[in-house]
């Protein structure tokens, strides 16, 4: 059950997207997410969807993995769609409006259907773009990129390197702790612990035998790791250099240009076509 979490997982491959500079990737990922929300007309959104699909194509990440990353938000998707279908009423800016159909007490408006479709596409693209980032970038590269991007903050005496190291470690330990949780659950179930029945309070109480050993072992691992890091002379980020320096390659520039073109396209399509949202 806990094993199904795909967040923060890396999908090993040597695609263009994998080789992109992590700094560029982070910035572009943020930019494209912002532009998903800049989209206000269907053609503009269509451009973003096409862009997302092309990105998936270039990433060589298996379609099944992409589908898996959408699965957890399915509930949110359905929920927003239903709310939008039944509760969005009103006219377009040019005065058009239409009641599409009536279901019992509810009126379904033309605009509601459009808005529902629009939001769904938007959320799906958002999830795909952000999971592409983690699928194609190792946690180490991601935090290295983030550290570099945030390095101007060092001037404000913020320990960016420490923050980045903490993030790397946190990401590194997600799969380990998931495995550990599974093990502890199995052990307590073997002693007759009942984790899947009863009310909310009973269930929360039933988690104590899982939670305490997990915390204890997380602390134990933290101490061991701190010791191992000290043994390898880690004294914090000061004066630490990297074996692999990040360099901007021509492909990074090309990607940047493509993304900027798409953004420009979105703005243009927003202006020339009817706004839905």
């Amino acid at each position: 059950m806990v094993k199904d979490i795909t967040f923060g997982q890396y999908y090993a491959s040597k695609s263009v997207l994998h080789r992109l500079d992590p700094r560029i990737k982070l910035v572009l990922c943020l930019l494209m997410i912002v532009f998903l929300f800049v989209c206000r007309s269907f053609p503009a959104l269509a451009l973003m969807v096409v862009f997302t699909l092309v990105a998936v194509g270039f990433s060589s990440v298996h379609v099944k993995m992409i589908a898996k990353s959408i699965k957890p938000v399915a509930v949110i998707l359905i929920f927003t769609a239903i709310l939008n279908i039944f509760y969005t009423k009103g006219k377009y800016e040019n005065g058009d409006s239409l009641v599409f159909t009536v279901l019992g007490r509810f009126e379904v408006w033309d605009k509601g259907l459009y808005t529902a479709l629009f939001t769904m596409l938007r959320i799906i693209s958002l999830v795909i773009i952000s999971s592409l980032l983690t699928y194609t970038t190792t946690p180490t590269m991601l935090t290295d990129g983030l550290e570099k991007l945030l390095s101007p903050l060092k001037k404000l005496h913020i320990r960016v390197d420490t923050l980045a190291m903490m993030m790397t470690l946190a990401l590194r330990f997600i799969p380990t702790l998931i495995e550990e949780t599974d093990r502890i659950i199995s052990a307590q179930k073997s002693r007759g612990a009942d984790l899947d029945s009863g009310g909310l309070v009973k269930r929360a109480k039933a988690l104590i035998p899982v939670f305490i050993p997990l915390m204890v072992s997380a602390f134990r691992r933290a101490y061991e790791l701190a010791f191992a890091m000290t043994c390898r002379c880690y004294t914090g980020g000061d004066g630490r250099t990297r074996m692999k320096q990040m360099k901007i390659a021509p492909r990074d520039i090309i990607c940047l240009v493509i993304c900027l073109l798409v953004c420009g396209g979105v703005i243009a399509l927003n202006i020339f076509f009817k706004k839905v949202i």
Binding site: Q9, H62, A187, K189, A193
Partner: protein
């Protein structure tokens, strides 16, 4: 009399991240009599742990049946719950499952889940503590204050306290020093001798298993490669090497001595037995007992 555990055509598959299917256990048939003492051996990743997780219904078989004490454990929720208490499973490094404020309370966790009366729980905790050599003063301590070996004993006591008909131990002595190892194995032996319950032990350590088991099951690539008495299994040392295992070192020594023409038998599996035979030979007697 019904069998303790009866497994027919058990197959377990799971999907790894990505998409490919892994067959961890494939078409295993196994029948365990009540009171047997069994050793399950196999190299790392051979599927032993997956197999034993089926004994008490932690894992659901992809296909096949698991029958404990005459009832199919997957029949309904109740039979599954009963299986958890009838088959006590003790995982590798069980000390990491300790969580209560005191050792006493932790050992009582299993019996409490069985909804026993407080008197019965008390009786079982004390009995389990006695078996595992946990003193009265230790029972009142926090489990996190104990030493590594003591924690291990406390965790095993937690399983014993459920009074299971079958006790399954996965690498019970892993990570202990030789003295701790020996006393733990002795403890399991004593427990078995006095209660007559079925003991199944999974291990890499051939010396340990030789001291406890009467029947050995060799697992290789999710299948039962060999199932027989200790003599039968350890006589096939070449096959064992091929499966990533070996015979106990003492057995190798005695086989060589035997082949060199010394007056000693071949099938010696424990050091204690070896010492006895050698001292008899040195006193001038016949080695063959």
């Amino acid at each position: 009399m019904s069998k303790a555990i009866e497994i027919t055509n058990l197959t377990h598959k799971y999907t790894q991240s990505g998409a490919q299917e892994v067959v961890a256990v494939s078409d295993v048939n196994l029948s365990i009599e009540k009171g047997e003492s069994i050793g399950i051996i196999g190299h790392t990743g051979s599927g032993k742990s997956t197999l034993i997780s089926h004994f008490n219904g932690l894992l659901k078989p992809t296909s096949g049946d698991v029958v404990v004490d005459g009832t199919n454990i997957w029949a309904d929720k109740e039979t599954l719950r009963n299986a958890r208490f009838k088959v006590g499973l003790c995982f590798q490094y069980p000390e990491y499952q300790l969580f209560e404020e005191t050792v006493y309370k932790d050992i009582a966790f299993g019996p409490k889940n069985m909804k026993l009366s407080p008197e019965e729980i008390d009786e079982r905790v004390l009995r389990a503590a006695e078996f595992t050599g946990i003193s009265k003063s230790m029972l009142e301590k926090s489990p996190f204050e104990l030493s590594g070996g003591e924690k291990r004993r406390a965790a095993i006591a937690g399983v014993i306290a459920m009074n299971p008909e079958v006790i399954v131990l996965d690498e019970p002595a892993a990570g202990l020093d030789p003295a701790g190892r020996k006393s733990l194995i002795d403890m399991i032996k004593a427990y078995r001798d006095s209660t007559g319950s079925t003991v199944i032990m999974v291990t890499h350590n051939m010396e340990d298993i030789a001291r406890i088991a009467e029947r050995l099951i060799v697992i290789n690539r999710g299948k039962i490669a060999l199932d027989g008495t200790v003599d039968e299994v350890f006589s096939r040392s070449d096959d064992l090497v091929q499966w990533g295992l070996k015979v106990p070192e003492i057995t190798e020594v005695f086989t060589r001595l035997h082949n060199m023409g010394c007056n000693v038998p071949r099938g010696v599996y424990t050091v204690d037995e070896g010492v006895k035979i050698l001292s008899r030979v040195m006193r001038g007697g016949a080695g063959l007992g």
